[in-house]
């Protein structure tokens, strides 16, 4: 199967997502330039981390206008699995593919460190191989990861079981201390109503090899490989 890794000018985790898909998981992977209008037969699309277009205006605000985003939206509309990591998540929010917005971290500082997130839902292509309640140790690296949405929106996300990952402590408990950025409802990751589009602030591609300090992120990549191989999703770009 084939991963498409979208490259916006200013993406900087594109190589890392590519490396995880290709070298660690042994799958095909291809970079897709943001001006391209063809996803080249990919089975899954990754919007990687970084600072697309410099993020000078608002994170992800410019990237949603890149030509490739039309194709990504069409692919998602067909049920194709799309994963937005960090800046990729911010782009999904700006593009309206996921609800809500990102604010500055509540400490007003960029934060890079390992955190724990709990898998809340396993019926998405990116968590199918996880256990519900499973705690993953995965790094974050962002300045704007403080998830915000109106209370009605949060209530709807909860009701629809769209909160996929929450920040917790190592024991899987939601505490204020374990919430690194002040995100509403400790939300670290979400899916859309169709459950095929997932965005998360932590970087699973940085946690795919134990030499890097954690291999817990593999579960997310393995989930999508397993989902596609099982034929549960048939969309193809």
């Amino acid at each position: 199967m084939k991963f498409a890794v979208v490259v916006f000018p200013g993406s900087n985790c594109d190589h890392d997502a590519y490396h995880a898909a290709k070298d660690v998981l042994g799958q095909q992977a291809e970079y897709i330039w943001h001006k391209d209008t063809d996803l080249k037969g990919a089975d899954v699309v990754i919007l990687p981390g970084g600072f697309a277009h410099g993020d000078y205006l608002r994170t992800g605000a410019m990237a949603r206008f890149s030509p490739v985003m039309k194709e990504v939206q069409a692919f998602a509309a067909k049920g194709g699995p799309v994963l937005g990591i960090c800046n990729g998540f911010q782009v999904l929010l700006e593009a309206g593919m996921l609800p809500g917005a990102m604010l500055r971290n509540r400490g007003l500082k960029f934060l890079c460190e390992h955190v724990h997130i709990r898998v809340e839902q396993t019926d998405t292509p990116f968590t199918a191989a996880c256990r519900r309640g499973q705690v993953l140790r995965i790094p974050i690296a962002h300045g704007d990861g403080n998830y915000f949405a109106e209370p009605e929106v949060i209530a709807k996300l909860e009701a629809n079981r769209q909160v996929v990952f929450r920040y917790t402590n190592a024991n899987g408990e939601v505490t204020d201390e374990a919430n690194p950025n002040g995100s509403a409802a400790a939300i670290a990751g979400l899916c859309n109503e169709g459950r095929n589009v997932v965005g998360l602030m932590p970087h699973p591609e940085r946690a795919c090899e134990s030499v890097l300090g954690s291999a817990d992120g593999l579960a997310i990549f393995e989930s999508v490989v397993q989902t596609i191989k099982s034929g549960a999703l048939v969309a193809r770009a």
Partner: protein, 749 residues
């Protein structure tokens, strides 16, 4: 029109002006004078330091590129080169901490990718005044945010560094940044212009009036008017640099380039003259073709602007379209601004009319070189004298050795720098296998088994007390840190931060430090492949501590054999490599417990140091060490404590000998616990490997003995059979963790 006032504004001395007139055979016009002033500034010409720098060892079979290019390069096997350099951005960071630090990072990154290498790691070495001072906290916050803002955005991990706090840096903080990149050894590109008729291209950000005379500013002392120099600090745009980086690396994959250089200090002036000079050619450009951000800029302003994120390329004739196409892909416009010529002149035109014409040679090779007078400073005799017998009582809060240990661990110099490095993305590129705070920064090299370890170190206090020995100790510590990670030190880069070289006492410090660096680098086989000199680090006539900062790069042949500082298991043997001599001179202990900066820095036997480092590399290669941690600031007790931190609470029970020093019993135990004797490393070893380690140490001629065992949740250290330190690891770790953080606690979530 060129009168003494104009010269003074340009930082040129009357005799320097006379030289200019002699070379030119006429009076220069103002544009030409401006060009001379930046090229002959201390920052660009190294006129005070050059005679000393020439004495440094720069060669060796591992060196692919020594000083003189944009960065140095070493062979790391498998056909690969590591390209690296350190640079200072002290003056701009004091005036405008965020942008000063950010553009420092931008500049060093450009130096690395200019060589054709993809930058994969950053380090920084920072010096500030006391954190008690709110001005220091503001500076630190700004500098850290600036480094983070630039490095994080461009996607290069900051994998390590060091920070120290001393009052002497209060009015003149130091911001030294190091970058390392990787490329095929055969692909190294140089900053050279040659081949008459080849095209000179400008690419990147437009030229504005920012940063005019930045190089001259960096060559003058500060006074209370310094804040008014803000317009000379540039503003960084990491997104532009990211585009430049990717586009330039793509262009470099073609064979269209003759040479390339970034426009850093002295901007277009420096890049055109240096490239021409290296290639033995001339360069002719028309400033009207230079993309400009503001209207009405004069040739003078365009030539001297230090706007960031700009590159100068020399493209083979006939290949221009290929190059332009690649830049267009990245939404960058490459502008054809001139040609390479054969006449050896820098010729600047404006709409076809010549506005400046100077022989390149006059600007580079013929720049003044000074052998400035040196004299041993008077303060030395006084500060080097330390009589432990008359030391007096220590700070009343330090009731016992436990309290002394906790005070040291809680001092910002020794305490955890997590508050700082968590603001840096240190994991992007997924290569970081030894994180910040764990010793040397280590990055693996994908598609090979290898990894590179790197460390930047310096000790201004030691250098203040004895510049020569202090500089040697800095080289030794940087190389030792790299060896502790299991890597063989390969080469070094230096950043020499000193006061005003026109003062003989400062120049003496400089000369001594360079001698010390040379001697240590020769002994440890870590030639200097490049670096930077930052002089005039003074405010209101008061100089900083002389502060040479050394970056060392080392190679691990097997990335999976990397070693870090933390204990790994209970029941391991704790082995001390090297010998403590109870040296308290210049120590952190004397500063914290007695408020003294006094005495001789620790002695350094370079032969013993080399043997120790070779042994560390051997032990790591044979997988015999579970952890290794260099003994430096705070001595053995602090080192042992740091081994227990981040280990999951593994304690240690250790017994060490007394050392014979004059003075009270308190002082005697303090010397054993907190003395900073060099060439010592604490390693932990699995019980069944202990004999092997001791045997190998003996064969290597390195003193080694088992001083205790890991285990429990307490750190216990007995001195001469009497328990001196007994603290819960969790208590010690709390003191250490909050040392820097608590100064910012109110403002951090």
């Amino acid at each position: 029109m060129i009168d003494p006032k104009v010269l003074e504004r340009h930082g040129l001395k009357p005799d320097e002006y006379d030289r200019i007139v002699a070379f030119m055979g006429r009076e220069p016009n103002l544009t030409e004078l401006g060009i001379f002033s930046v090229m002959w500034s201390e920052h660009c010409s190294y006129k005070s330091s050059r005679v000393h720098l020439k004495t440094l060892p720069t060669g060796g079979p591992q060196v692919l590129q020594g000083p003189g290019e944009n960065a140095g390069a070493v062979d790391i096997g498998e056909g690969l080169a590591a390209v690296f350099k350190i640079e200072s951005h002290n003056h701009p960071s004091f005036i405008e901490p965020y942008q000063g630090a950010a553009t420092g990072v931008g500049g060093i990154i450009r130096d690395i990718f200019t060589m054709g290498a993809r930058p994969i790691a950053l380090l920084n070495s920072l010096r500030f005044g006391s954190l008690e001072d709110p001005a220091t906290r503001r500076l630190l916050e700004g500098v850290v945010a600036g480094i983070a803002g630039y490095g994080n955005s461009i996607g290069i991990p900051t994998v390590g560094g060091e920070i120290a706090f001393e009052p002497s840096y209060a009015g003149n903080p130091l911001v030294n940044v190091f970058c390392l990149g990787i490329e095929k050894a055969s692909d190294i590109i140089k900053g050279v212009a040659s081949g008459a008729g080849n095209a000179v291209y400008y690419v990147g950000a437009k030229t504005g009036r920012d940063g005019i005379h930045g190089a001259t500013m960096a060559s003058a002392e500060f006074d209370d008017k310094s804040a008014e120099k803000r317009p000379a600090v540039q503003v960084g745009d990491p997104f532009m640099e990211k585009l430049l980086l990717e586009a330039c690396l793509e262009v470099m994959k073609t064979d269209t380039l003759i040479g390339i250089q970034d426009m850093g200090a002295a901007g277009l002036t420096c890049s055109t003259t240096e490239m021409g000079s290296r290639g033995g050619a001339g360069v002719e450009i028309d400033v009207a073709k230079v993309p400009q951000r503001e209207s009405g800029m004069t040739p003078y302003e365009i030539m001297l602007s230090e706007s960031q994120e700009r590159m100068l390329l020399v493209v083979k004739r006939g290949r221009e379209a290929e190059v332009e196409r690649i830049f267009e892909k990245w939404d960058l416009h490459a502008s054809h601004i001139g040609e390479v010529t054969t006449d050896g002149l820098l010729r600047v035109k404006e709409n076809g009319k010549v506005v400046a014409e100077i022989p390149n040679r006059a600007l580079t090779d013929e720049a003044p070189v000074y052998r400035r007078p040196m004299s041993r400073p008077e303060y030395l005799d006084e500060v080097q004298t330390l009589d432990l017998g008359t030391l007096g009582t220590r700070d009343t809060r330090i009731r016992d050795d436990n309290a002394a240990l906790l005070a040291l661990l809680g001092s910002p110099a020794i305490g955890s720098k997590r508050w700082v490095y968590r603001q840096y993305d240190h994991m992007v590129r997924t290569n970081t296998i030894n994180m910040p705070g764990m010793g040397a920064g280590v990055v693996r090299i994908k598609d090979t088994d290898r990894a590179l370890a790197m460390s930047v170190d310096g000790n201004g206090r030691y250098c203040y007390l004895d510049p020569r020995r202090g500089a040697m100790l800095a080289v030794a510590e940087a190389a030792r840190n790299v060896a502790c990670a299991g890597a063989k030190p390969l080469a070094a880069t230096n950043c020499l931060n000193f006061g005003n070289p026109e003062r003989p006492a400062i120049m003496w410090q400089f000369g001594q430090a360079v001698e010390g660096i040379g001697e240590a680098c020769r002994a440890l086989d870590t030639p200097i492949t490049g670096g930077n000199v930052s002089l005039y680090n003074e405010t209101d006539g008061k100089a900083i501590y002389p502060t040479p900062v050394i970056g060392v790069v080392g190679l691990l042949e097997h990335a999976d054999r990397v070693v870090s500082r933390c204990f790994r298991a209970a029941g391991d043997a704790i082995v001390l490599l090297g010998e403590g001599r109870g040296e308290l001179g210049g120590s952190e202990y004397l500063k914290v417990a007695h408020g003294l900066v006094q005495g001789q820095p620790p002695a350094l036997d370079l032969k013993a140091e080399r043997a120790l480092q070779d042994l560390l590399v051997e032990l790591a290669g044979a997988r015999l060490m579970r952890s290794a941690h260099d003994c430096s600031d705070g001595g053995l007790a602090v080192t042992l404590a740091e081994c227990t931190f981040d280990s999951g609470g593994i304690g240690a029970d250790v017994s060490i000998d007394e050392v014979a020093v004059a003075g009270s019993a308190d002082t005697g135990r303090a010397a054993a616990l907190f003395g900073e004797s060099a060439s010592r490393v604490v390693v932990s070893v699995a019980p069944d490997a202990t004999t092997d380690v001791l045997t190998r140490a003996k064969a290597a001629g390195v003193p080694a003995r088992v001083i205790g065992r890991t285990g429990g949740h307490e750190l216990r250290i007995a001195v001469g059979g009497q328990v001196a330190v007994a603290v819960a690891v969790s208590d010690a770790e709390r003191a250490w963790s909050s040392a820097v953080e608590h100064y910012f606690a109110k403002r951090v979530a």
